[in-house]
């Protein structure tokens, strides 16, 4: 698939050989839509799997679950075909832990993600958070992008997305979203 663009923060490349721990799961968005609590249950499971890497296990589990839940909810909401597998991969590199999601999304959603990540890379997250809250709350809209902004504001998450063309379908794009958290930030909560 052709790479159409990379947006967001510049993430330090990590060598897979340096991973202390890794877990990748694949699931169908339809399962999450049918029973929304599966998003939370999956986030809690993955967080509890990785909490053993941290001294403050309770705090780490809270932070990891918060981040993973937002990403898993986004996979459920923004995947074009709810029956097509999406994936979540968590890798622990010692000082950094990364979450990577992959799915296919429609053009409008990809355009919104690009705009959001571009803005997030250059704007103070606290100001962006308040702006987004006023925008969504006063107009009774969905919390578009608020979860990602909140992860950046509260835990210093760094976010980047790679967007690739899907062969034979100009309206769909393959999105790889990567979120990186400093292990210290996870410990502090």
């Amino acid at each position: 698939m052709d790479l159409l663009g990379q947006v967001g923060d510049t993430l330090t490349p990590q060598d897979p050989a340096d991973r202390l721990s890794n877990l990748r799961i694949e699931l169908l968005p339809i399962d999450l839509i049918v029973q929304w609590r599966r998003c939370s249950k999956m986030a809690d499971f993955l967080a509890s799997y990785f909490e053993y890497h941290f001294e403050s296990r309770v705090v780490a589990a809270q932070v990891l679950s918060t981040g993973l839940n937002e990403l898993i909810e986004n996979l459920a909401k923004f995947s074009a075909d709810k029956q097509r597998p999406v994936s979540v991969e968590i890798s622990h590199f010692g000082e950094v832990i990364t979450f990577e999601t992959q799915n296919e999304a429609r053009r409008a959603e990809v355009a919104a993600l690009r705009a959001r990540l571009t803005r997030m890379a250059t704007t103070d997250p606290e100001e962006l958070f308040l702006e987004q809250l006023e925008h969504t709350a006063s107009r009774d809209r969905a919390a578009s992008g608020l979860g990602l902004i909140n992860l950046k504001k509260d835990y210093g998450a760094r976010l980047s997305a790679e967007i690739r063309a899907v062969p034979d379908d100009p309206e769909r794009f393959h999105v790889t979203l990567q979120l990186a958290l400093e292990v210290d930030a996870v410990e502090r909560g």
């Binding site: 609590r37 679950s65 839940n69 606290e126 809250l133 709350a137 009774d140 969905a142 919390a143």
Partner: protein, 110 residues
């Protein structure tokens, strides 16, 4: 009191307590779940207290819903105190930002 799956909402004369895990699917789901708190704020004759200390998780749709309640309190000039648990990460991190929406909102650690 209403219990919906993984969270519990208890109403009192001077406010409400939310506890458990609240990760509902959409802002519309939160509107329905928090309608009673919305009504309390609209009808308030004095200060209200919203106890969130036992709320372990709230997703971003929930944060939006909570900010709507804060803005409603702002609109009606209702003194609102939010009880928090500083051991719960999202409360410690996110709620101080919400307080910036309304200077009369007070955060009080349990």
């Amino acid at each position: 009191m209403s219990v919906e799956g993984e969270y519990k909402l208890e109403l009192r004369a001077d406010g409400a307590t939310l506890s458990g895990v609240m990760r509902l699917v959409s802002p519309a789901a939160y509107r329905s779940a928090l309608a009673a708190v919305h009504d309390q704020i609209e009808a308030a004759k004095g200060p209200l207290e919203l106890d969130l200390a036992g709320l372990q998780f709230l997703n971003s749709s929930g944060i939006t819903a909570l900010s709507r309640l804060v803005m409603l309190a702002r609109e009606h000039s209702v003194q609102l105190t939010v009880i928090i648990d500083e051991q719960v990460s999202w409360q410690k991190k996110t709620l101080p930002s919400l307080a910036r929406l309304y200077p009369k909102l007070t955060l009080k650690a349990r």
